[in-house]
């Protein structure tokens, strides 16, 4: 790891009222390390969507389970990993734009629109969604 690389680990309980705090923290970190306002907002939103998914879908909205958020920055490339030990997604949502009157199904679409990549993996009972974005990208 390069000495200029930065990493922060956060852990929250699987409660939706904790998620805004994660978003606030991620946005502040992005701004501190060179992201512009729009990029920081897009990363904040994508992270909140990822954490919401872990709580709502992986843990079925049950309290008392851990959600881990790992923020790291190396060479202006931001990576955010959101991990849970809940139910594994068997299939990723299709990469199609939701209809305007859809009441759900926007989270993954937002992440795919605003991050450079969104990858999901499972290892030893732990599910991880990896979001990445270059700070030098034009939005």
């Amino acid at each position: 790891m390069n000495s200029d690389d930065k990493t922060l680990m956060l852990e929250i309980d699987s409660r939706l009222d904790c998620v805004a705090l994660v978003g606030i923290s991620i946005r502040a970190l992005c701004l501190e390390y060179g992201a512009d306002e729009m990029t920081a907002y897009q990363v904040q939103t994508s992270t909140v969507e990822a954490v919401n998914n872990a709580i709502i879908h992986a843990y079925s909205n049950q309290l008392g389970h851990p959600v881990w958020i790992r923020w790291s920055l190396a060479d202006k490339r931001l990576t955010i990993q959101v991990s849970d030990e809940g139910m594994t997604m068997r299939q990723l949502p299709p990469d199609i734009e939701p209809e305007p009157d859809a009441e759900g199904g926007r989270g993954w679409w937002i992440m795919r629109q605003w991050m450079d990549s969104a990858e999901y993996m499972t290892d030893s009972g732990r599910n991880t969604l990896i979001l990445s974005k270059s700070f030098s990208n034009k939005h």
Binding site: E37, T45, D101, R106
Partner: protein
Amino acid sequence: MDYVVYLEPSDKIVMARVELKYLTADVAHQIFAEILQAARGTQALAIDLATVDFIDSTAIGELVFLGKKLRNGGIACTIAGLKPHLMGLVRMMRLETIMHFSEDADAGIKGLVNKLKIEMPNS
């Protein structure tokens, strides 16, 4: 997350002023259910979201659900005061094709009054 919904009812238009910064999955359902309840029996609803800095997709889904309920009930609605970055999200979702958005609460109320040809509240 604490929030306050100020309701200014009249027999024709309900003004719902939502005071919170983060309109997210933990509170959205409760807030919009409260607003829907207050709007029953009126002709129009203006929802002022000027204090909101952040909206997640769950809250957007709840807003869409509210919009459908209002349309089915024949109640006109406008969403007022969204900040520019949130309007960007609205446009990306093409929500402007199914809901009405106003620059601020005053413009929203005036628009509803003109649309429905009713008197301004408190006039």
